[in-house]
């Protein structure tokens, strides 16, 4: 039986604390839920450090621990809090190796979620610091991907930002690319929209419309192979990128990188609506659902 991503994260964290006498920093860690049960039930003596409710300072405190070679984990419980928490990470921790030849490796777990969470806390918030040098960004949604990222972190002395999503924690499946020959359309989903993409593909399979899925989770550095580019070019109706961020965020950055290289003219996006979410279900702003993506694809096919 495959483990859930939740159990994998918990296991990795426990081993990391023990093996490296490391530290896990964050706010409200040992409170209700233990970070959606992704954190082993350990305390300060074991390296789990409850930070003060001072988001900006907290990023600095973790940076200091990173500077001491502790390889700390830093849990940012809502990615919207990146706006405060990432200041010293991107401006200090990510620069120490280049300026002072002093690496500051940190494993950051930024957790995204949507739904009834209001204008600030929800969605993915990677694009605000994507441009900054010396940060590696991944968005693993399965156990295998998470293990890959952690292993890479152990062999690196860089800052890693791991963009998680609460809806992925129960996942036991391995999400693999699905690349049928001569696709009608190729989906490039990011984060939680990867699960929707699988549903979309199943729907169109029944209708004999060939949907390719190229999962995007190794976000920075962002590299597609020549084979990938060739495949994208073969898509009859183009590429549809989906994410739990606004269109002008990460999707635009990645699409620009892809288009610069491949000159694919038919590029479509589905992310959060260009509006501010409220605190009620009626005024939410959530990522595209499978049925919305299906409608979009039908529309793309119809218009072409």
């Amino acid at each position: 039986m495959e483990k859930t991503l939740r159990d994998t994260i918990k296991e990795i964290t426990k081993k990391h604390l023990k093996k490296f006498k490391s530290m896990v920093f964050g706010q409200n860690l040992t409170g209700v839920g233990w970070v959606d049960n992704t954190l082993p039930k350990l305390y300060e003596k074991d390296g789990i450090i409850e930070l003060p409710m001072a988001d900006v300072a907290d990023g600095g405190i973790v940076t200091g621990a990173g500077l001491m070679g502790k390889r700390p984990f830093y849990i940012i419980r809502y990615q919207g809090y990146n706006w405060f928490n990432m200041i010293f990470i991107v401006n200090y921790a990510c620069k120490t190796k280049e300026i002072w030849k002093k690496p500051c490796p940190i494993f950051i777990r930024g957790i995204a979620l949507e739904g009834n969470i209001g204008p600030v806390s929800g969605s993915s918030q990677i694009s605000i610091f994507y441009k900054m040098p010396n940060i590696k960004i991944f968005s693993p949604m399965s156990s295998n991907e998470y293990k890959f990222v952690y292993k890479k972190f152990l062999n690196s002395d860089d800052v890693f930002y791991v963009s998680e999503h609460r809806k992925s924690f129960s996942n036991k499946l391995n999400l693999k690319n699905s690349l049928p020959k001569n696709p009608d359309i190729v989906l490039m989903p990011i984060s939680v929209t990867r699960f929707e993409a699988e549903e979309v593909k199943n729907y169109f399979d029944k209708k004999k419309i060939k949907v390719g899925i190229m999962h995007l989770w190794k976000l920075k550095p962002f590299n597609l192979s020549n084979k990938d580019y060739k495949y994208l070019k073969k898509s009859k109706y183009g590429v549809l990128m989906t994410d739990n961020d606004f269109k002008d965020g990460l999707m635009s950055i990645l699409a620009s990188k892809i288009q610069t290289r491949s000159r694919i003219s038919k590029f479509f996006f589905m992310g959060l609506k260009d509006k501010t979410a409220g605190h009620h279900t009626n005024v939410d702003n959530i990522p595209p659902t499978a049925s919305e993506i299906i409608s979009k694809i039908n529309q793309i096919i119809k218009n072409n």
Partner: protein
């Protein structure tokens, strides 16, 4: 205490002579990047360095932009700092730090990124992770940063072996403390249950405040001092500023003058030699 004062003067004079030379090179446009001279307030770092030396403690040092006196006060290599000012790879910060971001593995000094007061939470994290004696140097403006205040709060909670030193020259660039706030940082520290002191930069006053401090818990000292020159670059924005180094030189007499002249010769020769190589 005369030998203590002479030792402090030795450290402070190295810093002052270094800064005077830099001042001159800025005026001559040989140094063209932003420089933050310590001149006038070097007695803060230099006195604390001498106290640490007496206690045989080699703390981790987290300064910010005005760091010449921290580096030189804590016996950083003068030649390495000159090379740094000249942008050379064999500078103490590999030619990357200039004046603002002095870093030195040799003396456990960690570089600064340019965000005022960012060194406070970073030092707190480093201290928590290593449990090593740690000193944070901040200005009177930096302590107004919210993340500095919350860092001070947390060192009390965690009882970390960390000394917060506030080099209080009264100015944020040229905006005085009176115009910015109505509180004193040592009172804030007290309210967080941290032992604290507020003194001027007379080395004996600093010594009295810290003589029993053993880096077993947090302590905050606000030291009132004077910046002789502009916030950045070479120039004066005020006249008749009290100069602790000159005052001590006068009070300590001939021996102090000898120390000063010896350092003056040594450092200026070093500058001359390294400028010629350049």
């Amino acid at each position: 205490m005369k030998s203590f004062r002479l030792n402090v003067l030795n450290r402070a004079s190295i810093s002052r002579i270094f800064d005077e030379r830099v001042y001159d090179l800025i005026e001559k446009k040989i140094i063209k990047f932003p420089v933050y001279l310590s001149a006038g307030q070097e007695y803060v770092a230099c006195t604390i360095a001498e106290i640490c030396n007496m206690k045989r403690i080699k703390p981790m040092l987290f300064g910010q932009h005005r760091g010449h006196s921290i580096y030189l006060g804590f016996s950083g290599n003068v030649k390495d700092l000159i090379n740094e000012m000249l942008g050379k790879k064999n500078g103490c910060t590999y030619g990357m730090g200039g004046s603002l971001s002095i870093h030195s593995e040799k003396i456990n000094m960690f570089g600064h990124d340019g965000f005022m007061g960012s060194n406070a939470p970073i030092a707190v994290g480093a201290c928590l992770a290593s449990k090593k004696p740690t000193i944070v140097f901040l200005g009177d403006a930096a302590v107004e940063e919210d993340y500095v205040l919350s860092s001070i709060s947390w060192i009390a909670k965690k009882q970390l072996p960390i000394l917060f030193v506030i080099e209080d020259n009264n100015f944020a660039v040229l905006t005085s403390k009176d115009e910015r706030r109505d509180w004193k940082i040592n009172n804030v520290a007290k309210s967080f249950n941290i032992e604290s002191a507020d003194v001027n930069d007379n080395p004996l006053n600093i010594y009295k405040s810290l003589k029993n401090y053993k880096f077993k818990k947090p302590f905050l000292i606000n030291v009132r001092t004077n910046r002789l020159y502009w916030h950045s670059g070479a120039g004066k924005d005020r006249k008749n500023v009290f100069d602790r180094l000159e005052d001590e030189k006068r009070k300590l007499g001939r021996k102090a003058l000898e120390i000063y002249l010896k350092n003056n010769l040594k450092i200026n020769n070093l500058w001359k030699k390294l400028l010629e190589i350049q």
